[in-house]
Every structure is written in structure tokens, then in C-alpha cells.
């Protein structure tokens, strides 16, 4: 078994894959986030050095785009679609319920690290609104009364060996 790579080493590998090119900044950050589930500070520092750009440039991109998170995210990321179609079909009250059930606000992660709550402007599955995307699974026509069931199911599946 190979030893897992350190954060800076993995980052350098990612940057190299994109040809050490600063114009690939967004793609580099996306790959870093995919590798670590968020953007660790060490990774951003290593990326800046490897791409030969000031840290401020990396930080600018990392904070401008909403897809990037500077904080570790939970095992399961719950994304509530807040597109117009979902909005008129009750996305706001759905969000309230997720907040109550999980006890967190958008951008936060539960203490046990199981769930993060996020909102997204539109996932493009408008016909199924209101839509909630959990990790990569789409849940369509979600009603308030389904929220607890969905969370319970994920918790149970997560408990399986």
C-alpha cells in the first residue's frame, strides 16, 4: 500500500497536471476541492508557489466562486436548489425544514461532520422542482414531510458497514 500523499504534494501534482499554468486556476482549485472535499490553506499556498502567482490571486479566485469552500465540508453535502421554478414551488419553506432538521444554516456543517447544507442557484432540473441534490443524487418534488425521511435514510445507509 502506498502512503497517502501530503496536501502540498498532492497539490503540486494537480498543478503540474494542468501544466503549471495560471490560466488553469479554476480547474486546479476544482481538482483540489475534489481531492480534499474543500480547499485547505496548505493547498492554496502550495498552488500559489507552484503556479508562481501571489497568494492573493489564488485567494481571490477561491473566494469569488461559490462552488469553492475554505472550510471542510460534511460527508454528505445537501444542496437545495433555489432556482425560480423551485422557489415558486416552495424551496424556501423546504430550506427552513432542512435547517431545523439538521440544525445548521447554509454554509455550515453538522458537528458530527455528517452533513453540510448549501444552496445552489439552479441545478437545471426545473421540471422536478423543488429539487434537492444530495451528493450526486437528485431528489425531485421534495415535500416538507419527506425531509426527515431522506435524512434518516442517509443516516441509516451511512451506518451500514
Amino acid at each position: 500500500m502506498t502512503k497517502p500523499m501530503s496536501v502540498p504534494a498532492k497539490t503540486r501534482q494537480i498543478v503540474k497536471k494542468h501544466g503549471n499554468n495560471k490560466s488553469a486556476m479554476i480547474a486546479v482549485l476544482q481538482d483540489i476541492q475534489e481531492a480534499f472535499n474543500y480547499l485547505p490553506k496548505e493547498a492554496l499556498k502550495a498552488a500559489a508557489k507552484q503556479m508562481n502567482v501571489p497568494m492573493s490571486r489564488v485567494y481571490e479566485a477561491a473566494t469569488f466562486y461559490t462552488a469553492f469552500s475554505l472550510k471542510p465540508r460534511g460527508k454528505h453535502v445537501v444542496k437545495i436548489c433555489k432556482g425560480t421554478a423551485c422557489h415558486v414551488r416552495g424551496a424556501a419553506i423546504l430550506q427552513d425544514r432542512f435547517e431545523t432538521t439538521l440544525g445548521i444554516k447554509p454554509g455550515e456543517t453538522t458537528k458530527d461532520g455528517n452533513f453540510s447544507l448549501e444552496t445552489v442557484n439552479c441545478v437545471g432540473a426545473c421540471a422536478l422542482g423543488p429539487v434537492v441534490v444530495i451528493n450526486t443524487d437528485y431528489h425531485g418534488q421534495v415535500t416538507i414531510n419527506k425531509v426527515d425521511k431522506i435524512i434518516k435514510k442517509i443516516n441509516e445507509e451511512g451506518a451500514k458497514p
Binding site: 479554476i26 421554478a85 415558486v88 422536478l128
Partner: protein, 614 residues
């Protein structure tokens, strides 16, 4: 030019023409994102497994989005073209033993006309499809987007072969100009004018870009094209690149569209393999290649100069456009940026001719447009209609009207840059100019239908909240102005509206539109201004009477239980998260309005419509 540039494509085409010929038996399953979410991939696998088990030679085609997303998973049995909706894995053996083996129809899976309850057999019989003119989008249903051979079978890359073999770049531009193709991304700028500008511009290299950063909430036609027919976008781009003299192109895709990225990547690789991308395309001296760039969740990146900044690896901030993108775009080089749907129209224009194309649509807006018909409407999904179709036809004939017997209130078009159009304007023909005239815009084609339970002040508040978050922050009027307008709207919705608020909103709106560099700020006040224009009485009800007529704004409504309708079943009592509902079994329940958070859980759970909102 070479002698026979299109031999390769034509040869493959010949081998495949009969593949899905008129008598070929095959099963087409919609595998767009909507149907996937409803389980269509599992249905496809069930078909494949069952055919294998029974040793039957029937193809299963996982097609691009068919548009009628609400009915997913959808299955079409060819050659009879029987249309089955909401197909489950359990239905598969029966479909095979009855419909495929014996040609018998399974009545329970058929679509029923909502008015007459009559079962309709075929896709074309459905009112949703009947009035559509699906020249661009309809081809999704005939191909598996992951196979380039399928695209060849529907005349794919024939337009490219024709362009490279027979046409000069100028001839291509003049054909597109004659067709009257206007940009489908929002502005409605003439595509050929951009192309001409880049062709004439000094500077090298030149770039072509497909804008797939479909940011308007409620619009997903570009997603469905990139997922469902990626080669049509790529072919359009290659033709555009040839016309303007570019050798490098980008497709900028939203971060939220992983399947689109997957299918585009596959399509680009397949096109390279077949010599349709890369060096010396189809044996000519023309070379061109495409890269995919993924966005990272910023609405403003749909704006041209912000999109360039993003591809260059920076924060997506727009810049002033004294110098246009056709002169200085990506990396300050001449750049054509067109929307995904615009590119997908290009091969059609070349194949069928500018005259044919220009014969569809209105005086100023040619061709068809794909709209996403969503919100409070019976038939939700994607439709493609000729420009100039009336809103009424779209909403009532194709959309099937408003669900649950509610009353139509408004249709929102153009995303956060657009506006809300009221009932009395439903018979306007939809095209670029007409929508602008009534205070909205085409945008990328989102149509969000609202009924009498949608509050127009809340909708305006919603869009401003959206724009407040998405403003890049560069221009003060946009950054601070939207924030202030949003605060005022929050106040109105919370019951703290003041006399004069409407006036302030109107004046600020005009100032923000004037003082912002890019279209985001320039059009940001539209949702507010258009709702004030058509629904001023709703604003006044909130401000003066502290009343939300639609029953949406939480601070202005109370929930109560209609004792005559309540059966005391106790379902709402269990659904309430804050224990605000009390009552004995089989006796009418009561809501404690002090405790009630007006979350709506009881309304959604009550089967007897006993919860009233006032």
C-alpha cells in the same frame, strides 16, 4: 480545397442510415438529467438485461432529453412510437412481452389527456408536443448522445462537410446573416455581425467560445442540448471557427452540469478520432480544436467579459466594453462568444438553407426557440416553438394550463434580467423585440409560470436577493444599490413597508441600470420594475394594508384550520415540527398562531384542504 472532403462522414453515414430506419424495432429511453433523477438509467438497464435473458435482438437507446421531464422516465417503443410515461423497472417485462413481442399497448402507461382522460398512444398525439416545431431539440430523441455514429445517422457533420468542401468563410457568414440567426443567450445580438467583426478584426489567434454557463434560474435548455446532442454544438462551433478564422475554441460549462461535461468530453474525443476536430479537419488545411472549461458557480460569468476572465483563471469580473469582444475578447484577442443553443442552430442553417430558416419565425426574430416551461404549470418541460408563438399557446395549449384549478397570474421570462408578464398580455407573440417592449426579455428562454398563490413582491424580493449575492461588486450602483433595493423589499414583505417605498424603488432602479458596467447591473432592477408596473396593487396591499394577497409573505399571514373541512385525522399534528397544532382524534384541530412558524408542512400534509391562509 480538396476533392472529396466529406467522404469519411458520408461513408459512415451510409453504413448507418438504416440503423434506426422506419421499420427498425428499438426502445428509446430518455436519459436526460430529469429522467435520470426519476430512475431512467435503471429502466434502461432492466430492458438490456431482459433482452439479453430472452435472447432478443432489440436495441436500447438512451437518448438525450425529450423535453417532457415531468413524465419521466419516458420510454418510446419504435417503430410504432408508442409513448409510455413514468415507466418503472417492474414494468419492463410486461412491455417486452406485450408491446415489443406482440405490438399490444399497455393502457396504464399511456399518457391521458387531462381534460378528456382519453389515452393517447404516440408522442406526436400529445398536446404538449403537437404544436411544437422541434427542429433543434427534437433530434435529441433520435440519438444516444454518447455515440458519434448516431449523430452521423441524423445527417451529423454533413453541414461541416459542405462548408469545408464548398463554401468560403464569407459565404458561411452571409448564409448565417441571411438566415437572421440571433443570439439565444439573452441579448439577441445578430450572430453573423459578431462573426463578421471577428473575421475582419486584427489579431491572432482568434477564438470561438460556446457559452454554456446557463445561469438564469429556471432555464435548462442549454444543459439539455449539451447533454442530449453535444455534437450539434460542436459542429456549429467548428463551422463558426472556419468562418471567422479561429483555431481554438472553448466551451464554458456550468459547474452544476456534470453530465453535460461528461457528454461533451466524449463527443470531443470521438470527433477528434474521426478527424472532425484537430489538425486538417476532414483532410482540408483547416485545423481547430475545443477545450472544456468548467465554471465554479458564479452567475456573472455568463456575461462575456466575466466569462473570459474566468477562462483566463481569474475572478469573473466584467470590464467596460468600450472595445468589444470581437476586437479584444479572450486574452485580448478577437473572440466570438455565442450561446450553446445558437451554435446548435448553425448546422441546421447550413444543411437546410438560410431561406428555409428565415421562413420560420417573425420579422425580426427568425427560427425557433427552446423554452423551459416551469413553475405552476401542468406540463412542465422543455418546448421548442417558432418565434412569434403567443404566450397563450405556450402556456395553455402546450403547457396545459395551471394545475389544481388555480388562476394564472404571471409568467416570468428572462431570468433575473427579465420581468413578469401579466395575464392581459398573454396574446403577445414571443420574440426578442416584443418581450423587451413589455418590460421583460427573452433571456436564455426560461418561462416560470406563476399562479394566484405566488406573491409578486416576494418574487421581486427573491430576484434581488439572488442578484445581491451574484453582483461581482465592481460597480458601486450595482453592489450597493441592489442591496438597498433588496432591504426595502425585505421590509415590505416583513410588513414594515412605508409610503413612498415604491417611488424609491423606481428611482433607484433607474440609477442602477444607468450606473452599472455590465448587463447584470443594467438589467437587475427589471424584476422589480416590471412587477411594480403590472402588479402595483400587490405592493400597495403589503405596504398599506399589511396584507399579502397571495398568502406567501410569512409576517403578513396567519394559518388556521377550517373546522368544517377538518376530519381530525391528526396527520398535520404529526407533520408540525413546532407542536403548534393540537386537537383530539376525529375532532377539528386548532393552530396556535403564536407557536406557528408558517412553514407549510401542515398544508402539504392535509388531504382535505382544511388549512387556510389569510
Amino acid at each position: 480545397m480538396i476533392e472529396n472532403p466529406d467522404t469519411q462522414a458520408r461513408q459512415i453515414l451510409d453504413n448507418l442510415t438504416l440503423y434506426y430506419g422506419p421499420k427498425k424495432k428499438f426502445v428509446a429511453i430518455c436519459a436526460g438529467t430529469g429522467c435520470r433523477a426519476s430512475g431512467s438509467v435503471q429502466v434502461k438497464e432492466a430492458f438490456e438485461a431482459e433482452f439479453k435473458k430472452q435472447n432478443m435482438d432489440v436495441d436500447v437507446l438512451a437518448t438525450g432529453c425529450l423535453g417532457f421531464c415531468e413524465k419521466g422516465p419516458m420510454v418510446i417503443i419504435h417503430p410504432d412510437k408508442y409513448f409510455y410515461e413514468h415507466v418503472k423497472v417492474e414494468d419492463v417485462p410486461e412491455i417486452i412481452s406485450k408491446t415489443i413481442a406482440k405490438g399490444e399497448v399497455i393502457s396504464r402507461l399511456l399518457y391521458r389527456h387531462p381534460d378528456t382522460q382519453k389515452a393517447l398512444f404516440r408522442e406526436d398525439d400529445l398536446p404538449f408536443y403537437k404544436k411544437q416545431h422541434r427542429v433543434v431539440f427534437g433530434r435529441n430523441g433520435m440519438i444516444d448522445p454518447s455515440r458519434i455514429e448516431d449523430y452521423f445517422a441524423i445527417d451529423g457533420y454533413q453541414a461541416l462537410a459542405k462548408v469545408l468542401g464548398e463554401m468560403t468563410p464569407d459565404a458561411v457568414i452571409s448564409e448565417v446573416k441571411k438566415a437572421g440567426l440571433r443570439g439565444r443567450g439573452g441579448g439577441g445580438f445578430h450572430a453573423a455581425v459578431k462573426w463578421e467583426g471577428v473575421r475582419k478584426a486584427h489579431g491572432d489567434p482568434k477564438y470561438v467560445i460556446a457559452n454554456g454557463d446557463e445561469g438564469d434560474p429556471g432555464a435548462y435548455m442549454d444543459r439539455s442540448l449539451m447533454e442530449g446532442n453535444p455534437h450539434s454544438v460542436i459542429e456549429g462551433m467548428i463551422i463558426g471557427a472556419y468562418a471567422v478564422g479561429a483555431h481554438e475554441g472553448y466551451i464554458y460549462v456550468r459547474n452544476e452540469y456534470p453530465l453535460a461535461v461528461e457528454h461533451l468530453t466524449m463527443a470531443i474525443e470521438a470527433a477528434r478520432e474521426k478527424g472532425l476536430l484537430g489538425k486538417n479537419i476532414l483532410g482540408t488545411d483547416f485545423s481547430f480544436d475545443i477545450h472544456i472549461n468548467k465554471g465554479a458557480g458564479a452567475f456573472v460569468c455568463g456575461e462575456s467579459s466575466a466569462l473570459f476572465a474566468s477562462i483566463e483563471g481569474r475572478a469573473g469580473e466584467p470590464r467596460a466594453k468600450y472595445v468589444h469582444a470581437v476586437e479584444k475578447g479572450l486574452y485580448d484577442k478577437p473572440t466570438v462568444l455565442n450561446n450553446v443553443e445558437t451554435w446548435a442552430n448553425v448546422p441546421l442553417i447550413i444543411n437546410k438553407g438560410a431561406d428555409w430558416y428565415a421562413s420560420i419565425g417573425t420579422e425580426g426574430s427568425k427560427g425557433t426557440k427552446i423554452f423551459s416551461l416551469v413553475g405552476k404549470i401542468n406540463n412542465t418541460g422543455l418546448i421548442e416553438v417558432p418565434m412569434g408563438t403567443t404566450l397563450y399557446e405556450i402556456i395553455y395549449d402546450m403547457g396545459g394550463g395551471i394545475p389544481n384549478g388555480r388562476k394564472f397570474k404571471a409568467v416570468q421570462t428572462g431570468g433575473p434580467s427579465g420581468g413578469c408578464i401579466p395575464e392581459r398580455l398573454l396574446d403577445i407573440p414571443v420574440d426578442f423585440d416584443k418581450l423587451y417592449e413589455v418590460g421583460s426579455m427573452m433571456g436564455s428562454g426560461g418561462m416560470i409560470v406563476m399562479d394566484d398563490t405566488s406573491c409578486m413582491v416576494d418574487v421581486a424580493r427573491y430576484f434581488l436577493e439572488f442578484l445581491k449575492e451574484e453582483s461581482c461588486g465592481k460597480c458601486v450602483p450595482c453592489r450597493e444599490g441592489i442591496r438597498r433595493m433588496s432591504d426595502i423589499l425585505e421590509d415590505i414583505c416583513a410588513g414594515h413597508g412605508r409610503e413612498g417605498d415604491i417611488d424609491i424603488l423606481e428611482r433607484m432602479g433607474a440609477a442602477i441600470a444607468d450606473g452599472s458596467l455590465c448587463a447584470l447591473g443594467g438589467s437587475a432592477p427589471n424584476p422589480v420594475l416590471s412587477t411594480i408596473r403590472y402588479f402595483r396593487d400587490e405592493y400597495e396591499a403589503h405596504i398599506r394594508d399589511h396584507r399579502c394577497p397571495a398568502g406567501v409573505c410569512k409576517a403578513l399571514i396567519t394559518y388556521s384550520i377550517n373546522t368544517e373541512k377538518c376530519t381530525g385525522c391528526g396527520v398535520c399534528l404529526k407533520a408540525c415540527a413546532v407542536n403548534a397544532i393540537t386537537g383530539e382524534k376525529k375532532k377539528a384541530h386548532i393552530i396556535d398562531s403564536e407557536k406557528c412558524t408558517r412553514c407549510g408542512a401542515c398544508i402539504q400534509s392535509c388531504k382535505f384542504n382544511a388549512i387556510q391562509v389569510k
